[in-house]
């Protein structure tokens, strides 16, 4: 596989990466800087592997692009966790508005990964370096906070009529 392909692959990941970065650090410039830092960190960490990729046949490294994505998302999560602590005060206004952004850092990350990126629970465990129990607990807590935004009797008719399977 050519390294140019990897470069294009990373470049095409930008909308997904940006969305995740913005959810964790809700600021345009911080989120885009976070993405660049994360790619740089990925290239430094995996330089030897990437060099080997350039000289190896395509079929052997087919899964490597998926691994690249999950590794980059993991680095974004780790970097943004540190940066979030430094920027916490300046982000207080956005978080104070309530809704999704008022969730805890890990709740936001895990709920977003589960609902918007379709990662499996095992992959989320890898990204967040948490156990399955911890991931499920954060997910549950996040879901409860999100559902508490809605009135209790909102779906009463659908439930009574058996509207869902």
């Amino acid at each position: 596989m050519k390294t140019e392909e990897l470069q294009k692959y990373i470049q095409n990941l930008s909308p997904e990466l940006y969305s995740f970065a913005y959810v964790l650090v809700p600021d345009d410039l911080q989120a885009s800087q976070l993405m660049i830092d994360c790619v740089q960190s990925f290239l430094i960490q995996k330089k030897v592997l990437i060099e080997k990729m350039g000289l190896t046949k395509n079929r052997i490294l087919k899964n490597l692009l998926d691994e690249t994505k999950i590794n980059i998302v993991k680095i974004i999560y780790e970097l943004s966790r540190k940066r979030y602590q430094q920027l916490k005060i300046s982000l207080a206004e956005v978080e104070g508005n309530g809704g999704f952004f008022s969730l805890d850092f890990d709740e936001k990350a895990i709920l977003f990964l589960k609902e918007k990126t379709q990662f499996e629970i095992e992959q989320i465990e890898f990204i967040t370096s948490m156990s399955k129990t911890e991931v499920l607990a954060y997910l549950y807590s996040a879901r409860i906070k999100m559902t508490s935004l809605m009135p209790n009797n909102l779906f009463q008719n659908e439930i009574e009529s058996g509207g869902i399977a």
């Binding site: 930008s14 660049i36 918007k116 409860i144 999100m146 559902t147």
Partner: protein
């Protein structure tokens, strides 16, 4: 974290009639292969309290998805990111040609080293003794045969 959980529990989502009602959420996120999933889905078939609680929770979770933002990236930001990634690949010498160049260079260094070592071995003390010994045998053979 505790406050919303308390509010949620108060909100009649989980009735006190069945002790399993508090676990119905697991059906949304746990894999169908998981033991907990199997146990809960079996239970929910027979328990109307849990069934209602699960339906409510499922509907609300589905509806709350709209509150999870999927932020779109500005075109300028995207172009800037693509440019930066390209630069990073250049700076890190990760272009195909650069990697090949480095590998060829490495191979030449390896061959050079082998050549130098070969010459050094030819001129080593052990080899000089060997030459001398071989010459002596050659002279002896010439004289006596």
């Amino acid at each position: 974290m505790d406050r919303p959980i308390q509010e949620f529990n108060k909100s009649n989502f989980f009735s006190n009639n069945c002790i399993h009602t508090k676990q119905v959420y697991s059906l949304l996120d746990v894999s169908p292969k998981d033991e907990l999933y199997k146990r809960m889905s079996k239970h929910i078939e027979t328990c109307s309290t849990c069934q209602t609680a699960f339906k409510t929770f499922q509907l609300k979770s589905e509806a709350s998805r709209v509150y999870i933002p999927k932020v779109l990236m500005d075109r300028d930001l995207r172009q800037s990111f693509e440019r930066e990634v390209g630069e990073l690949f250049k700076v890190m010498d990760l272009n195909e040609r650069e990697i090949l160049k480095r590998n060829v260079k490495k191979s030449f260094i390896f061959i050079d080293k082998m050549g130098i070592e070969f010459i050094q071995n030819l001129l080593s003390k052990t080899m000089l003794k060997t030459y001398f010994f071989a010459l002596a045998i050659f002279i002896c053979l010439k004289l006596f045969l």
